[in-house]
């Protein structure tokens, strides 16, 4: 499947690049100190940070990965949204944002330093920095591979061109530039993919016809007929669904540990909320993001379901085949683009795709340069320099971050399903972290040593579990697991990763409690004011209309998400 762009499509793409760079250029004059560059000077309105919050995550894993999962697992993929992301975003807004924003910490690792100690911050900062460049590399790789395949462009040139665009606009305008471009990209994705989904759904005959066409997809893989269109019905046992996970593993592993870990503690997204211009705006940021996020399955998962239905219904197949003879799920979106969009609208859809990859990368790079500059460079390498020096460092960290990402992109060529790999990385780093934050924010007795060794224990626990477990169809001893011994077996990579997250979280949670009880407190109650729930005065109910109050909006969002789960049960 090849996409051929017409002159108009190229014009649309080039106009987009000009705007992206132009925004960076205009913002350049406003970058006067390191806080402007790395924190946006805490000056951005809530609707902008909210859409950027959503968009920063809307990289390769979302657009390509979710469509791939939609084809591979059907509507069960919506658990990533309706069990995972949305409740986590509401929790962040209501319970956690007051501490992040109110503590005046400049980053998530810095909060850990204020709440616990230096070594906990160091551990988190370093592991986070590694993770962000890794993710940014994945985005870059996915983009280049796709362009190589679709357009016949050269892999190396694609990597070079897209990293230069990202580099230029961040180097010029810092976090603000990244955030503004993320909002631009949000609209691009929504307005670029909506016609695609509309046409594909119309072609397949609407939702009812799609449901029928997905029956042979399920039965031919020995699952119950409704497996691809019912999100909960087949979660009773791990053999009943293609995800290979039962409801408990899914809710606890994906929902509670992975999603809360990601949305509540990952500085990449939290940074967007911290750039908001007031506490109220910071708390509204994840809620504003949650509303469109709830509807995103229609934009990113549904195309995958349509593609797999077409694949089984068409002689000769619809999706191209991967090397092992199974459909190449990662090509779902490009195949749909090439099939349904004529030149003109194709330029919009294609640009949306490019934009999502670049902003996924940009989100990681801006989080990386802040953590690098404040939490690693300023803390350990060159403290007490002038602010100008850190502004300079922030800019150059952008360059280094992108160079390392390029290295990671070549590394990422090894992997098959991008989503599974990301989950693995998050399992190691993020899963234990959420236990540390829960205890840190809600239990004043948690100590620095408890947090540090608990976190370390959680990560080690994750690694050990990975070394002892293997998913069906994978080779033992490598990156897929079982490099110590083959003790635990799973039906899919995803089930393995969910369980790994549970193990990591539980080890960290238990270890942190035990070690905290055995060690002396290193922060007094006074020092913990504003950092721990029980020692912080509740934010006063401001005179805001109901739609501006975080708790009210949060409850409404939760009700809506429950309804969505029931509709697609």
């Amino acid at each position: 499947m090849k996409i051929t762009l017409g002159p108009l499509d190229y014009a649309i793409l080039i106009i987009y690049f000009l705007f992206v760079i132009g925004i960076g250029w205009v913002l350049k004059r406003r970058m006067k100190n390191s806080s402007d560059f790395l924190l946006s000077g805490r000056s951005i309105p809530a609707w902008v940070t909210g859409l950027a919050f959503l968009s920063a995550n809307l990289g390769a894993q979302e657009v390509i990965g979710m469509a791939a999962s939609g084809a591979k697992y059907g509507i069960m993929t919506s658990h990533f949204y309706w069990v995972g992301a949305i409740p986590a975003m509401v929790f962040l807004a209501i319970f956690m944002m007051p501490f992040y924003y109110g503590s005046k910490a400049r980053s998530v690792p810095e909060y850990l330093k204020m709440r616990f100690d230096e070594k906990t911050r160091g551990l988190n900062a370093i592991s986070f920095a590694v993770m962000t460049v890794f993710s940014s590399g994945i985005s870059l790789h996915a983009l280049a591979k796709l362009l190589e395949l679709l357009m016949g462009w050269d892999y190396n040139e694609c990597i070079l061109i897209s990293s230069i665009v990202v580099l230029v606009y961040i180097f010029l305008g810092g976090l603000t530039s990244a955030i503004y471009n993320e909002v631009l990209q949000f609209f691009m994705i929504v307005l670029g993919f909506a016609p695609l989904v509309y046409l594909a759904l119309k072609d397949v005959g609407g939702w009812t016809a799609l449901k029928e066409k997905l029956i042979p997809v399920a039965t031919s893989q020995h699952f119950a007929p409704g497996t691809w269109t019912q999100s909960w019905t087949h979660m009773g046992a791990n053999n009943d669904n293609p995800m290979g996970a039962d409801w408990f593993t899914m809710v606890f592993g994906l929902g509670f540990v992975l999603s809360f870990g990601y949305w509540c503690t990952d500085f990449l997204v939290v940074q967007r909320a911290m750039a908001a211009n007031s506490m109220s705006a910071a708390r509204r940021t994840p809620l504003i993001a949650a509303i469109p996020k709830m509807l995103f399955p229609a934009l990113v998962i549904l195309p995958g379901m349509i593609a797999i239905a077409m694949h089984y219904g068409t002689s000769g197949g619809f999706l191209p085949l991967a090397k092992d003879g199974t459909p190449d799920f990662n090509q779902t979106i490009p195949v749909l683009l090439a099939r349904y969009l004529p030149t003109g609208i194709l330029g919009i859809g294609f640009t949306a795709l490019m934009a999502s990859f670049m902003s996924g990368m940009a989100g990681n790079v801006t989080a990386f340069n802040t953590v690098w500059t404040y939490d690693i460079y300023q803390s350990y390498i060159a403290p007490k320099q002038s602010d100008n020096h850190y502004l300079w460092m922030g800019r150059w960290a952008t360059v280094v971050g992108i160079l390392v990402s390029i290295g990671c992109a070549y590394l990422a060529r090894e992997f098959n399903n991008i989503m599974d790999m990301l989950q693995l990385v998050f399992g190691f780093v993020n899963a234990p972290l959420f236990a540390t934050f829960l205890l840190g924010m809600f239990w004043r007795r948690a100590t620095g040593n408890g947090a540090f060794f608990g976190l370390l224990g959680g990560t080690v626990g994750a690694a050990l579990f990975h070394g002892l477990s293997l998913a069906k169809g994978n080779i033992a001893g490598g990156i897929k697991g079982a490099w110590i011994a083959e003790k635990f077996h799973f039906n899919s990579d995803m089930a393995q990763n969910f369980t790994l997250a549970i193990v990591a979280w539980t080890s960290c949670f238990v270890l942190t409690i035990l070690i905290s009880l055995l060690t002396a407190r290193n922060r007094s109650d006074e020092e913990l004011a504003g950092l721990v729930y029980s020692l912080t005065p509740r934010p006063k109910a401001e005179n805001e209309p109901w739609y501006m109050q975080p708790v009210t909006v949060g409850i409404l969002v939760m009700i809506a998400v429950v309804i969505l789960n029931i509709i697609f049960w």
Binding site: F19, Y180, L184, L341, G344
Partner: protein, 67 residues
């Protein structure tokens, strides 16, 4: 003070809207075979233009308010 983001969003999507509408009017019908015989450029171009124009409208209203 940062500039109003609605301005570039409004301009960008208005340009896209106009481009798609223009192309939708002059393009050969044969290219819409793949989009199920719907002139998607014309239709969606109008949506983009309306979206872009309303963003511009809000941005300009915001400027007046500041003054």
């Amino acid at each position: 003070m940062n500039f109003d983001l609605r301005l570039p969003i409004g301009i960008l999507f208005s340009i896209y809207g106009v481009l798609l509408i223009g192309y939708g009017l002059i393009s050969d019908k044969a290219i819409y075979q793949r989009s199920l015989d719907i002139n998607i450029n014309l239709g969606w171009g109008a949506v983009l233009l309306v979206f872009g124009a309303s963003m511009l409208f809000m941005a300009l209203k915001g400027v007046k308010k500041d003054k």
